[in-house]
Amino acid sequence: MSESSVTKSARKRLTWLGALVVLLAGIIGLGTFTGAGATLAPKLALDLQGGTQIILAPLLEDGATVSEEQLAQAVEIIRQRVDATGVSEASIKTQGNSNIIVEIPGTPDESTLKLIRSSAKLEFRPVILASQGATAATDNSAATPAPAAPSAEPTDASDVNWVSKDIQAAYDALDCTTAFRQPGQVDDPTLPLVTCDTNGYEKYVLGPVEIEGANISDANAGTITTSTGASTNTWAVNLEFDSKGTEQFASVTGRLFPLTEPKNRFAVTLDGYVITAPTTNAVISNGSAQITGSFDRVSSKALADSLKYGSLPIGFEVQSQENISATLGSEQLSSGLLAGAIGLLLVIIYSVFQYRGLAVVTIGSLAVAAILVYLVITLLSWRQGYRLSLAGVAGLIVAIGITADSFIVYFERVRDELRDGRSLGAAVEQGWNRAIRTIIVSGSVSLLAAVVLYLLTVGNVRGFAFTLGLTTLVDLGVAMIFTHPILQLLAKVNFFSSGHPWSGFDAKNLGVTNYIGRGQFRTAKNVPATKAAQASKEAAKRQTIAERKAAEGSATAGESN
């Protein structure tokens, strides 16, 4: 390659780099100022901006697994619930293949937290027995028309034969004022259930599940309109079923309607607690029911929301809940940035100490890498919802060292070539050809580690792996389109090519005592004989394969295999 074409190609690559930076910055700038939702700084994760993070794990009966669709549906349901409470910018995502992670900025109120945490499973069960919630009140056995013992197999879900001795005993002993359910308890939908309503006013024996909450297509609160269309002041909850639910609800109401109190009631349970247990007033076959009672605007809306969003396909338990105050978050961010700044400064000082003038290239390369990483992260936080976490910041800081390493590998190779007596221009080319292989293969190992960790792990590990992988890629790119071309151009500058003592390429300093000039080879003089042999072997290695084979062939005739 002629001198001018080297310069030309170096300039070309630098131009590409400039174009890339301008393009990325342009996209972000455009996205910000046109109001498309981009920001000039990357968005921060919860541990840096403060907020509440809840990690939910599915509650499964033994051996069961959760499918991707179920998880996606659960995320959708939780999102609807959170949105309904008016919390903005909540992030609800699946993580790994079983967890759901909910992040809410600031400190959410207790009712929002409850709504998210309630590992809700909404079910319709017929009422078999019902009485007041406290045991003391039910000592009067007249209140409970209890059959002595089941006489036969139950024939339908409302059959009193479901009430076995055990269930009767549990029902009698139940005191709704105590914590009678285990947190995260899973009930068998095919068996009866002994439970209380959410207020503890009433306790029940309920039949097996007849309709799943997932079959509710809509629920809303509204005032009752009379048959003439006039609006009254009475609040009610309107319920719509999907086609399967319509069919099931028609058959349930058809069976319950002729029965007597309490067996003409059906209970809606959420997470095992009865949220409402209305009486059936008609056979409803069109899938559209109305629950009336002593509702006001607030209570009817709450019930409607529970009915609409309360039916997670699977139950969840809270695996961890973390609340980070905004002050702690910003303190962590500023400490992280401070640590990064100190780390960067130390690396710069060390590289000036080691590489003198070349440190300019190191600093420049690190600066370019930093700009690219910043732009890519900002872009990803806009387009892909990426959030920079504390672990991510740590990943970025650690990456400073690993990025600088690729320059060290390169500089050391160039120096090696100089020691062999090459001119700076030739050493830069030859050193690059050798260094780039090493940089690519070692970068691949780093990238492999990052990709594997990202794909197979969860939580903070992912955030860290992501930044590490990103910086490795950026590092490879910067080495190719910045560090190498810059060094090619600098090799033309007198300060470096003349081997100024402060250039980092000082021939004397590199031990090239017999350096004559550009392109001139040295002969080893003051090196011990055995070592000289080794050096000549080095030279031998740099012959072409054909040359060397010929030489070897004549020397070791008959012995090479």
Binding site: I55, E110, V318, Q319, S320, Q321, E322, N323, S325, A326, E331, Q332, S335, G336, L338, A339, G340, I342, G343, L346, V347, Y350, F353, Q354, V398, G401, I402, D405, V409, E412, R419, R437, T438, V441, S442, S444, V445, S446, L448, A449, A450, V452, L453, L456, T457, V458, V461, L468, N509, L510, G511, V527, K531, A535, S536, K537, R548, E552, A555, N561
Partner: protein, 323 residues
């Protein structure tokens, strides 16, 4: 500076050479002893000191306190839950971390308010978290999975690039050495094992192999067709490669350790226990051990594995005879 660069020049030309390959028995013994200590000491100490993420429980963090006395926290927790057994640590200059057994939502809110009152801060300055006992185990289980997959893939990648399984083998033995020693140091000194420490631990993987690959690439270059050489043996060329890349190894590890050390320093002094300190601590140990093992274990071990091959043995005999 000039001394260090002379050192680099001498190593490059071979004027000065440190015999790493020849003294490998000593290094093997050191490595085996270190690994044995890394296994025995943690057991003797009673196992790892697992963080709250592994034990499960409730954690509170109070920031911006004027009086960072720990007794205030203990009293505040006991006021709400007399049975509790709070573990209080100071975090930085004005922070307090309190860990307790798992509390109910209501109790935990009461403790939060009680702590805020006791330290005279707004209740917003008290962060509370609750961690289920299997959270940390879940993270770690997945991380270990990732570790195994990574080691297998990296071994294949290296075997393909270097065209020999023996380099993969040597590199992975050195990697396991690094992991065991880092883990052992954690266990022996009783450092808290948190998910953040596990992250740092996993990053050692990438770094340790990265460092080994750079040196191995030089070895690959130096030992290329060394079986035809009449001047040097396989082992000599491996040793020469280690020496030639020694300056690079030192510079690299210094440059990698500097930012990690600054995170460690800032993390430990300003923030106290937490993500930054935990990641940095594992990495700090891992980088130093990783650089050491590349030079003293991976490369000599590789030479050990290969110099016995017939073609190298024959060539080496000839070289020795020629001298």
């Amino acid at each position: 500076m000039s001394k260090f660069s002379d050192f680099g020049n001498d190593l490059y030309t071979g004027k000065r050479s440190i015999n790493f390959v020849g003294r490998r028995k000593v290094f093997y013994i050191i490595a085996v002893a270190m690994v044995a200590l890394a296994v025995i000491l943690p057991i003797a100490r009673g196992g790892f000191n697992f963080g709250i993420e592994f034990r499960g429980g409730s954690e509170f963090r109070v920031t911006g306190v004027a009086d960072s006395s720990q007794q205030i926290a203990v009293d505040a927790v006991h006021a709400v839950e007399p049975e509790a057994n709070p573990l209080v640590t100071n975090v930085g200059t004005d922070g307090i971390r309190i860990q307790t057994e798992q509390l109910t939502d209501v109790k935990s809110e009461e403790v939060r308010v009680s702590l805020a009152k006791a330290y005279g801060v707004e209740s917003g300055a008290v962060a509370s978290s609750f961690i289920g006992a299997n959270w940390g185990a879940d993270v770690t289980g997945k991380a270990l999975n990732g570790l195994l997959v990574f080691i297998a893939l990296a071994a294949v990648l290296m075997a393909l690039y270097f065209r020999t399984l023996k380099m993969s083998l040597a590199a992975i033995i050195a990697l396991l050495h690094d992991l065991v020693i880092t883990a052992g140091l954690y266990g022996a000194l009783g450092f808290e094992v948190t998910p953040a420490a596990v992250i740092g631990f996993l990053t050692i993987l990438g770094y340790s192999l990265y460092d080994t690959v750079v040196v191995f690439d030089k070895i690959r270059e130096n030992t290329f067709e060394v079986e035809f050489s009449e001047t040097s043996t396989f082992a000599e060329q491996v040793n020469y490669a280690i020496n030639q890349t020694l300056v690079r190894s030192i510079n690299t590890s210094v440059v990698a350790v500097l930012p990690v050390a600054s995170i460690l320093f800032i993390g430990a002094t300003l923030l106290g226990a937490g993500t930054l300190r935990d990641i940095a601590l594992a990495l700090f140990i891992g980088i130093i051990v990783g650089t050491y093992s590349t030079i003293f274990i991976a490369a000599p071990l590789y030479s050990h594995l290969r110099e016995g091959e017939a073609k190298y043995k024959k060539a080496a005999a000839k070289v020795v005879a020629a001298k």
